[in-house]
Symmetry: C2
Subunit: 101 residues, 2 copies
Amino acid sequence: MILEIAAIDILPGTHEQFEAAVRTAVETVLSPAPGFVSFELRHGVERPDSYVLLIGWRSLEDHTVGFRESESFVKWRELIGPFFAGAPQVDHWSEVFEAAR
Amino acid sequence: MILEIAAIDILPGTHEQFEAAVRTAVETVLSPAPGFVSFELRHGVERPDSYVLLIGWRSLEDHTVGFRESESFVKWRELIGPFFAGAPQVDHWSEVFEAAR
């Protein structure tokens, strides 16, 4: 599983609207996308106007080709883009190993 | 659960040593730490000399006080620090919501 980490700074004071928009976008656009595995929205402790989206994909191409080149990506950005304070920082990370208590 | 995301650039050509050192450090130092929940090491697709460590903690203070002010943190850095190409970027992220297919 490939993990996409997208770090997003939002416009101050739009937290509730942004979180609601992400929820809608995940339910309607992201969840049905081929190769979508998992989603997590997290809020910055040290940076209160920042969020990270942790998105699991079956493969890199499921995101970079399948999703990004689809009409779904246009809808995704229409829903959550209005709250961005700048361009998101998006990177992909491959598994090495994991551990749990 | 609080997620610590630590982004680390390593010295070129030390990938195998770094990954082995992280494995040892997780097994011997991190896993027994009070409040430790989960650990994931991931490797940069776009940035091959970069890794992220995703570390779940029961609370923020379990990391920032309990772990960082303990002797364990000294051992942790002794094990993995020699491979760092610079200071790690460490941030904490609180839960908003998650979803899965």
